[in-house]
Subunit: 292 residues, 2 copies
DNA sequence: CAAAGTCCTGAATCATATG
DNA sequence: ACATATGATTCAGGACTTT
């Protein structure tokens, strides 16, 4: 994460005016109403209220539907437990339900994209294949799969499968015919392995001070994405002044990095605790505390 | 490729008795009839004639569905399987064809697998997402996606997208309940990056002397897989004496490496020119010419 | 203060046996 | 099918503690 502070001399709202609370009464939002805002509300409901062909890029970090067992995994020697992802937002009753959810989100996102916009979706093997298939069926044209190789993944203790050290990002345009989308070739060459602009990014997961904590010092979000990942996404596929949409914002890494890189953002998040985390991050920007 | 020669003192057939020609009259094959044979015939037709729960591992390198007009799947003549319906939208109809073809292949492969067998499927982003989704819907339980990072990928750098330097392998068992499948953790640690047996393999594409040529010196097969890739697949997920099935054998890298590593194989290939290439490779083994 | 050692944890579909 | 009891296992990296 090599973000520079851009000071306060800009037109972004302060943390306190950051949030727009969605209501059933709100029929629709103009671009100006939601630009550089976090909309507190349901992803799909809010997406449907956004104007068509409005944004330059979409980043989606959806629930992965990990299907983890309810039983806890206890470390030997160490008394701690493995805190697996058990959030309600990752619970689906079946693949059908998951597919329906993702189809709706991806369909609305496609409507909101400008004709030459691009979209990124990240997931692991648990769901990335379903997502990619749905995207192709909706008409999206896949440009790349980009492999995020984690330098510090959770190892596979019992030695029954390969250590899952990767996540996959799908990068696509709305349609096969789209040609003039934004791609920063110099940034791509810088990040990919081997100086050939390869589709492989090697970087660590989000830990340490970057990881937001709740009041008790526990992680605020179980799957916070690293700043560096979003930095690469934004610098390779957007320009300054572009509008970036993240309908499943979580603790808002997308908008946070977009703000630091002079991009505009629209974020949607339904969990007020996560939105509080976003506000804290934006307060930090105002105070000049940005990642170096 | 660090394969050792195992000499001629074994029970594998010589190259000349390697091939079994499938015929419409053949109702079904016993394991002994096809063990360590190449069956010249249609993948799906032959698969249906194989006994159930017969093999320990399946490796499938299917056609890649590059979505090139008029080129997709010609070799497979899948149209006859799905009949009409597809005079609507070109892309969608070709998706239907591909999905139908892969569903049938993967369904029959699942029947032929022993209860604790595993399956590998390799593809690029053009088709891997559809394949993974189909596998999950058929009941397969994905163990890993393994990323093959090519050190010398096709230099397709036009500056409009990332250089596609990867292929993805899906490794799965028949069902979520399967536990006692073969996994060689030490081999996994040796091959994966880092010391954690990660799901990332870095190795070059098949070039040089390893690449089979036709009579005019042109490459015999457009997507011949490297020996080293199959070596890793076989050493991580099979034991000596196991039976490995490859229903889309191409120039037979799977069986060739299996033979060198004392595994048994069953290969299916419809193209006689490819089968001739396989015979040549097995003649080379008899002559002691194996990859070092 | 620096260096060395300890602790903690991370999107994890991670086992087997018995009731 | 589910619940419970028991047993065996991992590495990178940052935070924290001790020397």
């Amino acid at each position: 994460m090599k973000l520079k502070a851009y000071g306060k001399e800009n037109s972004y709202p302060c943390a306190e005016s950051l949030v727009v609370v969605d209501t059933p009464q709100a029929q629709g939002y103009s671009l100006e109403q939601v630009k550089n805002k976090v909309i507190l509300g349901d992803a799909l409901k809010v997406l449907k209220k956004l104007p068509s062909e409005a944004v330059d890029m979409v980043f989606i970090d959806p629930p992965y539907f990990l299907q983890l067992p309810n039983k806890t995994l206890r470390r030997w020697k160490v008394k701690s437990l493995v805190e697996a992802v058990q959030d309600d937002w990752d619970k689906f009753s079946s693949f059908v339900e998951y597919d329906t959810f993702m189809t709706q989100i991806l369909s609305e996102a496609r409507r909101v994209m400008k004709p030459n916009a691009t979209i990124w979706v990240i997931a692991t093997y648990h769901s990335i294949f379903r997502i990619g298939k749905i995207m192709q069926d909706l008409g999206y044209w896949i440009l790349n799969d980009v492999i995020w190789v984690k330098t510090n993944p959770m190892p596979n203790w019992l030695g029954v499968r390969f250590t899952n050290a990767t996540e996959t990002l799908i990068w696509a345009v709305k349609d096969k015919k789209v040609k003039k989308y934004t791609f920063n070739r110099e940034a791509a060459k810088e990040y990919g392995i081997g100086k050939i602009g390869a589709n492989v990014w090697v970087l660590p997961i989000c830990t340490g001070a970057e990881r937001l904590k709740d009041g008790r010092g526990k992680r605020l979000h179980s799957t916070q994405k690293p700043v560096e990942l979003l930095r690469r996404v934004l610098l390779t596929s957007t320009k300054e002044g572009d509008i970036v949409l993240d309908p499943v914002a979580g603790v808002g890494t997308t908008g946070y990095v977009a703000r630091c890189l002079k991009r505009n953002f629209i974020m949607i998040e339904i969990n007020p605790r996560y939105v509080e985390g976003i506000k804290k991050r934006f307060r930090d920007i105002s105070l000049g505390n940005v990642p170096e």
